[in-house]
């Protein structure tokens, strides 16, 4: 039951994050939406591997069948990647704010004149 709830929460986070990404005009808001969506995907990945009653996948902790360790290892990698991507995106936003004096995508999309 927790597995299904967590998976549903993951999908809800993904949907709301992507909705924010599409609807907001401010780049920072867009990146926040993207981050929430990525968090949803990560939660979903953990949730689908959930087995009711399984013990943590650590040697010597509890008895009985262990949880599937693979998705947990995968999401660690995914979290690091999303962290790096978000950090770089924010650096670019800082750059654009300094050079174009706006964070509004509609204004950013008007082409500046430069070769």
């Amino acid at each position: 039951m927790e597995g299904i709830a967590a998976a549903a929460l993951g999908i809800a986070l993904g949907g709301s994050g992507l909705w924010t990404l599409v609807r907001r005009r401010n780049v920072i808001w867009k990146l926040l939406g993207l981050n929430v969506a990525a968090g949803g995907a990560i939660l979903f990945l953990v949730a689908v591997a959930h087995r009711p009653g399984a013990r943590p996948a650590i040697e010597g902790l509890g008895s009985g069948p262990a949880a599937d360790p693979l998705p947990q290892a995968l999401v660690l990698t995914a979290i690091v990647i999303h962290f790096a991507t978000l950090a770089l995106a924010l650096v670019y936003v800082i750059f654009l704010t300094e050079h174009r004096h706006t964070q509004d995508v509609h204004k950013l999309e008007r082409e500046p004149e430069e070769p």
């Binding site: 689908v48 693979l70 999303h82 430069e114 070769p115």
Partner: protein
């Protein structure tokens, strides 16, 4: 430890060492190490699981990997030579990016592919905005946002597939011959395809590609269009090995081919025009990978040929823009120096598919492996390519001899050499029919160009929001397509 993976690790290590200093020397050493590794593992190695655990990462060196290694090392060498004046982090980042691509082509694990694609994108964002021009940085940020949307979809798909099948190994999934009439699995596969399609810059998924490739520094455009977008195509090819999604890839290929052409036909900014053409030429690859068998081999050859001549075209166009300070095709006409004109001329001759250059050999090999209905689609794509490249004819009038060929010479040699090798290898290409068809297509393209150049249709511009919505709708479409196919 496998010699091929040692080659990849050496490449990456030299990229990191280069960040401390002597970036160009490290890049050159990396290319040499890559060549040595390629010579050691060619012509291939069977699948093996790295790590030894039951959850290890399967890798294999097949024809696809072999061809891409040759392409990557060649394009890297040409760009290193062409951009040899650049200092700082440029060459180390490029080395890291190429090393990542070298590793990507071995991967036969869905999650490992995700990591490799993300690493390649992260380095591409850095390089695309490297010169610190506001327009390139904005293009790079758009690229970053859309690529992350794609990879979020990919992760959701990965979760669904893993939940249903309990494995991420491509070969193991293929053995189980998954049943795609199961809605959850079909949606998962659709999302995986959508994520890879975003990375591959396919039409409606990869609308970040034209500005990002168009405004990036010269050598970076060549590498992004020549090599990095193909990694998305590689991921799609791997997915089609695991799941029976051939027809979906063919449909996607047709959409991409003609969608890219539609935009390329009237585009006047030379580098954005070339970038839209990268989108359209990816259509050939997907049609080939989707049909499989001999067509897949043709698609691999076309990927290599396209990497070489599109790299050449981007180097030539970028050099011309740097010399003139303007970007539009009419403004450049009659002002380009001889080396640039040579580069553009050879590249155009090759991409249009005229003998005896690489485009003719690769398109011929691809056409020989597809059923007759698909041949017509490929012919129509070829006519469209010729029509849009006819725009470049006024540029082919040199205005002086200043400047050298740089890395363009290397790629020109490769385009010619590949073409001659293809003529010797495929007997069907030395027939009057094949040559006649190639020139007929080019001629028809020129006539089409004369017919359409008077029109100036207002095609919808793709803003970030529209591109994101297009990606999400495309993902829904793909999931439905997988379910119904």
């Amino acid at each position: 430890m496998n010699v091929a993976l040692t080659g990849v690790l050496t490449y990456l290590a030299l990229g990191v060492v280069g960040l401390l200093g002597r970036g160009r020397l490290c890049a050159a050493l990396a290319i040499l190490a890559g060549l040595a590794a390629l010579a050691a593992w060619a012509p291939g190695f069977p699948e093996r699981v790295m790590g030894g655990l039951p959850w290890g990462v399967p890798v294999a060196g097949d024809t696809l990997a072999l061809a891409f290694w040759a392409l990557i090392l060649f394009v890297h060498a040409a760009v290193l030579w062409h951009e040899r004046h650049r200092t700082g982090a440029f060459h180390p980042l490029l080395t890291l990016l190429m090393g990542t691509c070298l590793g990507t082509v071995f991967s036969r694990d869905l999650f490992n592919l995700y990591v490799a694609l993300e690493l390649a994108s992260l380095l591409s964002f850095l390089l695309a905005g490297y010169e610190g021009k506001a327009r390139a940085v904005w293009a790079s940020l758009q690229y970053l946002v859309l690529a992350t949307v794609g990879m979020t979809l990919y992760l959701f798909g990965l979760g669904l597939v893993y939940g249903k099948l309990g494995t991420l190994s491509i070969s193991e999934i293929a053995v189980r011959s998954p049943d795609l009439s199961d809605p959850a699995l079909a949606v998962g596969v659709g999302l995986l395809l959508a994520g890879a399609a975003v990375k591959g810059g396919l039409f409606l998924f990869g609308l970040w590609l034209p500005p990002a490739h168009g405004y990036a520094p010269t050598g970076v455009s060549a590498v992004l269009s020549g090599v990095v977008v193909k990694m998305g195509a590689v991921a799609l090819a791997r997915l089609s090995e695991a799941f029976p999604v051939g027809p979906v890839l063919v449909a996607l290929g047709i959409l991409t081919g003609f969608g890219g052409l539609l935009y390329a036909l009237w585009e006047q900014d030379i580098k954005v025009f070339l970038a839209f053409h990268t989108v359209s030429q990816l259509g050939y690859l997907l049609i080939g990978f989707g049909l499989g068998g001999p067509a897949a081999l043709g698609a691999i050859l076309y990927a290599v040929a396209h990497g070489l001549f599109k790299g050449l075209l981007f180097l030539a166009a970028g050099t011309g823009i740097e010399g003139m300070g303007v970007r539009s095709i009419p403004a450049l006409a009659g002002h380009l120096s001889l080396p640039v004109v040579l580069g553009l001329g050879v590249g155009t001759w090759a991409i249009v598919g005229l003998p005896p250059l690489a485009g003719f050999a690769a398109k011929g090999a691809l056409a020989a492996g597809v059923p007759s209905a698909a041949k017509w689609v490929l012919f129509a794509l070829g006519v469209g390519t010729a029509a849009s490249f006819s725009k470049l004819i006024p540029l082919l009038r040199p205005a002086g001899r200043q400047g050298g060929l740089g890395g363009m010479g290397l790629l020109m040699g490769a385009v010619v050499g590949f073409g001659l090798w293809g003529l010797a290898e495929f007997s069907g290409l030395m027939t009057p029919g094949a040559w006649g068809e190639a020139f007929l297509g080019a001629g028809a393209g020129y006539v089409l160009y004369l017919a359409v150049r008077r029109f100036h249709p207002r095609l919808p511009r793709f803003t970030l929001d529209r591109a994101a919505v297009a990606t999400l709708l495309g993902a829904v479409g793909l999931a439905l397509g997988v379910l119904l196919a």
